[in-house]
Symmetry: C2
Subunit: 150 residues, 2 copies
Amino acid sequence: MTATAETTKAKLRIGEVAELTGTTPRTIRYYEEIGLLPGADERVQGQHRWFTQADVERINEIVSLRDLLGLSLDQLRQLLAAQEARAELKREYHATEDPAARKRILDESLGHIATQLELVRERRSELEKLEVELTDRRRLIHRRLRELAK
Amino acid sequence: MTATAETTKAKLRIGEVAELTGTTPRTIRYYEEIGLLPGADERVQGQHRWFTQADVERINEIVSLRDLLGLSLDQLRQLLAAQEARAELKREYHATEDPAARKRILDESLGHIATQLELVRERRSELEKLEVELTDRRRLIHRRLRELAK
DNA sequence: TTGCTCCTCACGTCACGTGAGGTGGC
DNA sequence: TTGCTCCTCACGTCACGTGAGGTGGC
């Protein structure tokens, strides 16, 4: 009856997943339709979809990159494909003992992360610029209010 | 022949404005069409549109809020309407000498700015969370690379 | 005057929203 | 078993993209 035992392989319905990820069932079906979510071909047409915690995390990641970095779903599909390639590499990594192969795999991962980090930082600096503008305007108004209070 | 003299009331064409704002002529026409840009009714149907530096700044602001805060154009229209109300208040502000009226106007402006700042900060904290996740993953890979180098 | 940029339809697209009508699982 | 959530079309919408055919300004 522990929490970990309860959540092991817990099957989630599409409405629950939508709630957990802040999306809608329609959005999740659409992501499956365009190939952003895996495992769609295993289901018989008309039957209910069942999701796992891993699906929730993937959708959260999609939503996060979509909203925060403003990527199109096509760009996201490419990015996620690159991530899967990385996961594949990870399995190769554990399969090999060759230090040179391991180094090559890790270097490649670093490249993918660097790409995403650059996007994040670009966005952050734009947001900070906007914040500075707003706080400047606020400061000006506060000054005028103090003038009035005299 | 000074720069300021040259740019005074300089009339810009839609293509130039698109370039300056990182948009397209189609986007600018669309924004005019849905009422995000003012002064559309003064132009005779079929004639060329002429823009000023003020239009460039407005479009930059629209693009910035659209991309960085993820607002819909409908939300943006409301926000910009509120801003115009503030500009109107500003004129009233300069017209009145009554300190109480002036204070009321400034307080209202503060409210609008606070709303935008809240949106900006929400976004920023989400972005920072994503950045931390990415740098954590990068650190892990760097550690493994150092292990390999031994 | 010649080009280049502009103009207005108008249909296409991406990322879903929104019913309509029907079936499946606690 | 009943009701709620799920299913699949399929059309609608928002924010533009993309030609087609024609006119205007340095």
